[in-house]
């Protein structure tokens, strides 16, 4: 899957560079012993004379809770009280801190050990300093709440008193430093409030849009209504006469990431003024070659392709056609889903200052500062090291801000007004029409059952977007998609359509679409087999084993899948019986993505006017041995479930006419509202002896097919197209 391969690439690059930081650089200490100044222990920890411990949070905070969670891991092993801890956001510096992106639910798996080792390493240095000072063996010392104790002599000393000496101690080998046993955890596993909650409820300036370096200017932009179109001609005479307008500039640089960034930027003393001044701009775009694309066109082409043979193979085993020909029963159905926008509530924005010496400084709500740094360097022809990137809190990510476009555009504007910081802000329509959309897709599914009702053969013809036999970003599908690898005769084929739209990763990318298709279709197969989906899943999963993974990905553990399926059935009281109450339905869905195993049951009600109300969602999840912050875990799971409900029932397709996206605002692309939220999201955990993994995404995919399957239960109708509607 393209998401992971990209993330993996940047992770590998970053982790090689980050190796040095993780070996704990005691040389970073800057305090002279005896002076009442803070002492820095490693890249992340600074201990102040009052024993306050400042821990740097290295990854972007998009609401997924990592600014709280990563310091919890460090504080746990450092053995300080959570009340002593202050948290600060680190700047982008992968050489020093290791990988710093927010994507793929990877923060937990990538940092569970390194963050704890960083804390434990600092603790070891403090203990060594105390041992030296008191002339006792380090092994005779214990720690707790930011102090070192020597039980035999009854002595206690604060970390603050030891820090100046400890900071000059040789760094321990972090691979060998002793870590706590989970039974001794005092911070990890406890519900901790978000570090910024108190500031958020006071309206303090935390977000990218709130950045305000002294002397800041504002920029609005006019972009081509047709994505990938280029600037032909513009006349800014009238714009320049508008109040507050200081400069107008064309931006014609760059094609990174995919898609040109042609725009006309208007800079001035107020965003409201420069935004209003856009009305006066006369501009012509060259959209040739891009203005033929439309939603209608894609649909027609996709349906034509579905009826023909796939142009390529994703996965082939045995002979699916032969197996289907002799199957006792064949089930076939077409599924489809639309393009979607991310619609982060904070519109895309960035602030940058082109310093007089040619260095570039950013205040950026970015999910992937490292990639942005490289992209900007390429487009502007500057050295990556000449940039400083301060990461702001982010008003929603969902994958949108893994892309660098808004930072590249801002850099281009900043270069044109050197010496003055400038904030470029998209308005809602700019944001809606210049997204990196979740690609639409079409699937023709065919399954064969034997005389006993066992699933024996499966075909999927997947029509997606791509060129040259290669899917566009986030438009691919796993070759190992379950249940393919468990069956003797399988064919996953693929055909490609072209589009001018830029595509990208939307929370639980690929999975948010494919879960709907496969778990919805398997529910149909289960019905044909005379059973229910959990039972069909158990039979198909077979014995506990690990199925072959995608390249560089963890395998699919059938035992863990069965574990959450059984758990949610027990939790929700699943009987497999069809609903007998008019207008009430219950459905099941399972999905494995982002290393997490999730099974969900949805209870819903269909009213007389065909409105679908989600009454309750039951969730069983397995993310390994430890939920690090249970309070935030609950937030993530509720949020992801409701996000899935929105994709299933509320969000409207992003449509195109003559190459241009038609949606303007939340009227055409409505977000789910409080009156559409489920009555309850109930959660149960299956704790297994596996390293902890992330929670931002894997709860989302199963709820979508569970809703489709519940609608079937309530009404007898199969809805195979997103968003689902009975009206």
């Amino acid at each position: 899957m393209s998401t992971i391969s990209i993330n993996r690439r940047s992770f590998i690059a970053a982790s090689l560079a980050g190796g040095a930081a993780l070996t704990f650089e005691a040389k970073l200490a800057f305090a002279a012993p005896g002076k009442a100044e803070p002492s820095m222990l490693g890249a992340f920890i600074t201990i102040a004379p009052d024993n306050t411990v400042t821990i740097l949070a290295k990854n972007p905070e998009i609401g997924q809770g990592v600014k709280t969670m990563l310091p919890m891991l460090i504080a746990e092993e450092l053995d300080v009280a959570w009340s002593q801890v202050k948290i600060e956001q680190a700047d982008d510096n992968a050489d020093k801190y290791g990988p710093q992106f927010a994507g793929g639910s990877m923060t937990t798996p990538l940092n569970w050990l390194p963050a704890r080792q960083a804390g434990a390493g600092a603790r070891a240095m403090l203990v060594a300093a105390a041992a030296q000072q008191w002339g006792v063996p380090a092994a005779s010392l214990t720690t707790g709440a930011g102090t070192v104790k020597h039980a035999a002599s009854g002595r206690t000393i604060t970390y603050a008193a030891l820090a100046p000496v400890a900071a000059k101690m040789p760094a321990p080998d972090l691979e060998k430093v002793a870590l706590k046993s989970p039974k001794d955890f005092g911070i990890v596993g406890k519900p901790m409030k978000g570090v910024d909650t108190a500031a958020i409820v006071k309206g303090e300036p935390l977000f990218g849009i709130d950045a305000h370096p002294a002397g800041m200017l504002y920029a609005a932009m006019v972009k081509c209504p047709v994505i990938s179109g280029t600037l032909k001609r513009f006349d800014d005479t009238a714009v320049r006469k508008e109040k507050g307008v200081l400069a107008v500039m064309p931006i014609t640089d760059g094609e990174i990431p995919a898609g040109k960034h042609n725009a006309v930027a208007i800079v001035g003393d107020s965003w409201w003024r420069v935004h209003k001044a856009r009305e006066k701009l006369v501009v012509e775009w060259d959209t040739a070659g891009f203005d033929g694309y439309s939603t209608e066109g894609y649909t027609q082409q996709a349906h034509a392709l579905l009826g023909a043979a796939p142009s390529g193979d994703l996965f082939k085993a045995g002979n699916a056609d032969a197996a289907l020909a002799k199957a006792a029963k064949v089930v076939t159905a077409d599924y489809e889903y639309p393009f979607l926008a991310h619609a982060t509530l904070e519109p895309q924005n960035c602030t940058a200052l082109w310093h007089d010496d040619g260095k570039l400084e950013f205040w950026a709500p970015t999910q992937d500062p490292g990639t942005a740094r490289g992209d900007i360097a390429k487009v502007l022809g500057i050295e990556p090291a000449s940039m400083t990137i301060h990461m702001t809190r982010i008003g929603g990510g969902f994958g949108r801000r893994l892309m660098s476009d808004f930072m590249i555009l801002t850099a281009c504007v900043a270069k044109a007004v050197p010496g003055r910081p400038v904030k470029l802000l998209f308005d809602r329509t700019d944001d809606m029409r210049n997204d990196y959309y979740r690609p639409a897709g079409w699937h023709r599914m065919t399954a064969g059952l034997d005389a006993q009702g066992a699933l024996v053969a499966l075909k999927d013809h997947f029509v997606t977007f791509g060129e040259g036999g290669k899917a566009m970003r986030a438009a691919g599908m796993n070759a190992t998609e379950f249940p393919g690898p468990t069956l003797p005769d399988v064919h996953y084929g693929v055909s490609y359509l072209k589009t001018n739209l830029t595509t990208g990763w939307l929370r639980a990318p690929t999975s948010n679409a494919v879960a709907f298709v496969f778990q919805g279709f398997l529910d149909e197969v289960a019905e044909a087999a005379g059973t229910d989906l959990p039972e069909l899943m158990r039979r198909t999963l077979g014995t506990d084993r690990k199925l072959p993974p995608e390249p560089d990905e963890p395998p699919f553990d059938t035992g863990r899948a069965r574990g959450v399926i059984d758990a949610v059935c027990k939790f929700a009281g699943w009987t497999g019986k069809r609903s007998t109450t008019t207008g009430k339905g219950r459905g099941f869905g399972f999905y494995f993505s982002h290393r997490g195993y999730f099974a969900e049951v949805v209870d819903l009600t269909i009213s007389d006017d065909s409105t679908i109300t989600i009454d309750k969602v039951w969730v069983a999840g397995d993310i390994g041995s430890q939920v690090i912050n249970p309070l935030n875990a609950e937030h993530q799971m509720q949020g992801a479930v409701i996000d899935g409900i929105a994709q299933a029932l509320v969000w409207q397709p992003i449509e195109q006419k003559a190459g241009a996206v038609t949606a303007e605002n939340f009227g055409e692309f409505p977000l789910i509202r409080i009156n559409q939220a489920p009555g309850d999201v109930a959660i149960t955990w299956v704790v297994t002896d596996n390293p902890p993994t992330g929670l931002g995404e894997p709860t989302l995919p199963p709820v979508i097919p569970a809703i489709a399957n519940a609608i079937r239960d309530a009404t007898g109708k199969r809805l195979r197209s997103l968003p689902m509607s009975l009206a």
Partner: protein
């Protein structure tokens, strides 16, 4: 022409275009960025402030319309007894995820509980339906409003 208004109990004067939306006056001219820009069309509620006791969308309220009025923003909401209870409940339940919509949510909740101290769940969702939360913190918003409502009843008993 200078226009005067009261923001968080302080008299303020601004000399900008009268058709400039209150949202941008707060953010750009008064240095109060707590009120957020989401859609610019009154569809998302991120820019909600309280104007003479009523929740309004500041992106749809011109400076001229706000002239002489009493405005409360997220920066000053905790100064009112109801606002203080709302903020307290929001903090206790750790309502925010990304947090971007929460200023608007808190302002709407404060307006709701000021007018209707004991809303039914239906009244709460009907009133709050104008404020979107892209992270979908809705279950906790409902809980926090219920908690704040209880705390207000307790405080006035």
């Amino acid at each position: 022409m200078a226009i005067s208004l009261t923001v968080n109990r302080k008299p303020r004067t601004v000399d900008v275009e009268p058709d400039k939306p209150l949202l941008w006056v707060l953010r750009e001219d008064l240095g109060m960025p707590g009120t957020k820009f989401g859609c610019g069309a009154g569809l998302c509620g991120a820019c909600t402030v309280i104007l003479n006791g009523e929740a309004v969308r500041s992106c749809q309220t011109s400076l001229a319309d706000a002239a002489g009025k009493d405005i409360v923003t997220i920066e000053g909401v905790a100064a009112s007894p109801v606002g203080a209870k709302v903020v307290e409940a929001w903090t206790a339940l750790d309502v925010p995820q990304c947090g971007y919509c929460q200023a608007g949510q808190i302002m709407s909740a404060t307006a709701l509980l000021t007018a209707t101290p004991k809303p039914t769940p239906g009244e709460t969702t009907a009133f709050m339906a104008g404020n979107v939360c892209r992270c979908a913190t809705y279950l906790r918003i409902q809980k926090a409003i219920a908690e704040a409502s209880k705390a207000i009843a307790g405080a006035s008993a």
